[in-house]
Symmetry: D2
Subunit: 343 residues, 4 copies
């Protein structure tokens, strides 16, 4: 449901226009140094208002530590982080109550929760919750970088970038298309992880692809995921796709597998891509059903919205990936339950 | 790990050339009629040896019920089904021990399990385990069809088909390409589910896409998954992608969302596609590392193998999908803990 | 770890002298009416300072709803409730850092969390966390009373009482003993639940006794639990212990089983008792190891403490019991995922 | 439900008079040497027919390994062990179908599973399933003894003994009482574990007492559990009950806590006791409801039954305890995912 992970377990909560959104992490190792400043860069990357195509809504987005932190170190007890919601304009949304917005969860949420859902700004379905995911990701990245170093290798690095917007590899150009069309637009985001040990992932049902995709599809607007060569592999011959192993470390000549074989990391770079749909809240007039009239009517979105939500996804994707890998690392006993002092 | 599901919980076990493969289902409702014949059609669909491009290996593949069945009805206690392995030629594989086969789990398994893994025929990583998945799928499909019927609607139907082989929509043509090239080849498989109620799936981490993709990536050789319009959505404008809601039942004009909005089923057809890589065991000579010599050497696969493993995937994909949906239906209390008599 | 439940899932967090303690409930049905006043009675029952033998420490203990509540109804999204800690005197505890208090978790916590634990007032091990348990219990009791009513029967009622203090059934007398001895003292608390349906509990590992005892031993200071006749059953003959079934509703003549047979509720009253040890913080001088001197030294507890912690346990025991039963009821589909309107 | 454990995860299945009973272990480390002979001693201890007061029913009780074992070592893949049922007399039970036996699960099982349960010999509720528990216990004990050795200390030893039968510390005398009374009788069983490291157990809900009692109450006929001084602690003063810490290793002068403080092991001996009710199948005539007549009628048990089931419990209690501790050790990373070669 709203939790993920077997050992490094995150519980997410909150609504777009409610009191707060937040995250509770159960199983975070004791002894990790943590301060507000550690979060600022990634929180900033996630924020809108800084680049063409993202929403001008601003939140201070400062993490409040409500439990699990003592003298600026994690204690091993559950860590709870709150983000207050103080920049919300509910009135923008309340008049829309009578119309389920196309592409949004309004209709299904109302059905699933019998009309009791907090519908303001998408409520619990809002992209606002990704601020909590990013906070958990900061911690996971720190765990990945601090705790692990196998031999000569570099520590684990998780890096996500935008590959395409609206089908254009020149992202600026893709965005310009959307601005000109006065419509929202989708994109493709890639994630690469270096420094992973061999052996992460669990047969049969917890392959690396299984647990990564599970977490990745929690990010709003994701419509597809592919590992390594991905969908292109369906058109390839075996000889072409197979990655020849080069030496006893498992290094392969090519990396069509994207660093995962048999659901297990093979020590090569982990590579995957996700497809992000165009923002559902387009500036264009749409047609949708109205509860009041009982018929399909024209409808326009007001409020502040991103033209291309994909632009804000990379830091969220890094976070989700780091959370998953931290959990796998702890399960495989590559990250300890306690930080090594001075580590 | 080797279990999946929260309420309808399947545990898979076994190895390609060990005693048996099997499945244990904890949480199967009491009172479902079950007999050997119910399994034959799907087990037959999964088997090789019947069509161009699949392996001539044959197993009787008869399910043995070891627990949970009484007077041909499920009892509500754990159901255990075994498939004996009686058509194995281990010698085919044992000489290959010194060489990790490219594209296979040999190398990672050896690292992860410190050389104790059953390496014969891929052992626990073998596609052989999908026979157990198919058996669980038969039960899940029966539960979906027997227990649920919302108003006028049809019962739930899960149907999977091959869309492409080697990039060709004419599957025969794609296969012919592989046969001529004397190489293995990949494909694309689609799954469609009709008759689903609105409201399946759980925020935040158990979206329908999350749990489906989690289970789907347990199927060997899957490299990507996309829902509805999928990767194509990344190139679309918002107005184009949004599915306008037509009436109070939630029916939409188009179905780019593939039946899922906000991670929750919206009552429209569920549609997704997966990419299958070419069979790793290609007839072509490959290059790979040899433990013995310490260098890269030419290497050829012997044994019986499919040219296009995608051909055997549809029934497995249906099974996995039905398992996931049954679990979601039980969680949403749409399928009861007990069969209704006569139901 | 810090979560309990399969469907009605509570996550607890916080420390005695940290920012706050709190609870996050994932899986609470939508549509339950909830307001601050609902919590006051049970929170008051839990508080010290009102009766002989309990600590004079007072907290306002007002619940702050941080997520999951909208227009005074639960939304179906995770419910987060915080209690601020605003009446703490950390200096009382800090000087004790050098001495692990006997009977407390100080020593094991320091070992388990490598010295990073919040040691103030027991930190995450403090009885203070039971305020969050009580809050979750209020919600669970409401669910049990609102949602379920089988035929003519009354709704489910969970009632816990003190049976003994210091071996005395006259509780006042037992307390007086402690006051005279200037020492802390233990007690026995009983819990009875009426109105339960037949069939709660899951073989093999989730018997009603299994899940209840699991949750009950999370309450600090509990040293034993017994169901029905309990330890006395070990001295009985079979004919004496067996409860003869009287009619088709399963009503039994006696109730030595305490309402549970084969791990499953049988429709009779659920009855169990727990043993509470004397408060570890006794006013008496004790002997314990000092890290500083490396030897055993005399040691006296300062600060505010209960002479008999058992006095504050009943409302916590009711809470824990209600949480467990709510989860079992939801698993057995006797409580729905949504409140019935007007229900 | 029928599984237990977070990392070392056991799934139990089977019925008394069905095909088989068995256990599936997911998460057993790779590389543990295992052969049939390892199981014989404990399986023998569990069997009836060898001492006064136990049933003459005999099963060969030989474990069949169906998966997860290769060249006599565990592989890291799920281990499945079957025990065939070949010494059953179903006719003994079938005539009893019309009468729910007092003290047995017959009535509740029929209600919970809508009459579809396998009722023969108690079916899935039968004590027969403990044979599978014992098998898992053998593996857990091996893991505890092989993998862990902290410094000078001995490896972990789990030992369970009968303390009382029918209230008599002289067990023979207690049994004689039952034989003379021609009635069944209860008993008390103790378990002691030495060699445990400090720090096992997880706040808040997974205290050592929580997880042990959870598993222990899965054993049929258990009615109570107490740790250390247990129920007697409820009558004690604080000064009397507190265990003074003697040195930096955490060794205490007394052990009233039974080796657990704050829910965490403190390095001292773990001690707990359980109460076993008299065997429900007493030779005495009883009164119970008859479905056929609709009234209470006299009723006599036929078949083979133990006078004192407590006599067979020690080896099962050891098994359950070892399973729980193995899981806690793996969670705390004290037992690795792989056996050390030669270890």
């Amino acid at each position: 449901m709203n939790s993920f992970g077997r050992i490094f377990k995150v519980n997410i909560f909150g609504e777009s226009h409610g009191e707060s959104v937040g995250i509770n992490i159960d199983g975070c190792p004791a002894g990790l140094p943590l301060k507000t400043e550690d979060f600022l860069e990634d929180l900033e990357r996630r924020k809108g208002g800084m680049q063409k195509g993202t929403t001008p809504r601003k939140e201070d987005d400062l993490p409040f530590f409500k439990s699990g932190l003592f003298n600026s170190f994690t204690t091993g007890a559950p860590l709870t982080i709150l983000f207050e919601n103080n920049n919300t304009r509910s009135s923008d949304y309340e008049k829309l109550r009578a119309v389920p917005r196309p592409g949004h969860a309004d209709f299904v949420a109302s059905q699933k929760f019998a009309g009791f859902e907090d519908y303001r700004g998408g409520g619990h379905f809002s992209g606002r919750l990704t601020v909590a995911v990013v906070a958990a990701g900061v911690i996971a990245k720190k765990l990945l970088s601090t705790f692990y170093n196998h031999g000569e290798k570099e520590s684990i690095k998780v890096v996500s970038t935008i590959l395409e917007v609206g089908g254009e590899k020149d992202v600026e150009k893709g965005l310009q298309k959307a601005i000109e069309a006065k419509d929202s637009i989708g994109g493709i985001v890639e994630c690469r992880v270096s420094g992973l040990p061999i052996g992460l992932g669990e047969p049969f049902f917890d392959s690396v692809e299984s647990v990564l995709s599970h977490a990745v599809f929690a990010i709003p607007a994701v419509r597809g995921i592919e590992f390594g060569t991905g969908f292109a592999a369906a058109k390839m011959f075996g000889l072409e796709h197979n990655d020849g192993i080069e030496d006893g470390t498992g290094r392969t000549r090519t990396n069509h597998a994207g660093g995962i074989v048999g659901g297990i990391t093979n020590g090569n770079e982990l590579v995957f891509r996700i497809a992000i749909k165009p923002t559902s809240s387009t500036p264009k007039e749409q047609q949708t059903f109205s509860y009041a009239s009982g018929t399909v009517e024209p409808f326009s979105v007001k409020g502040r919205h991103d033209l291309c939500i994909a632009l804000r996804v990379p830091v969220v994707l890094e976070a989700v990936t780091a959370i998953v890998l931290t959990d796998l690392m702890m399960l495989e006993q590559k990250i300890g339950r306690k930080a090594e002092r001075g580590g």
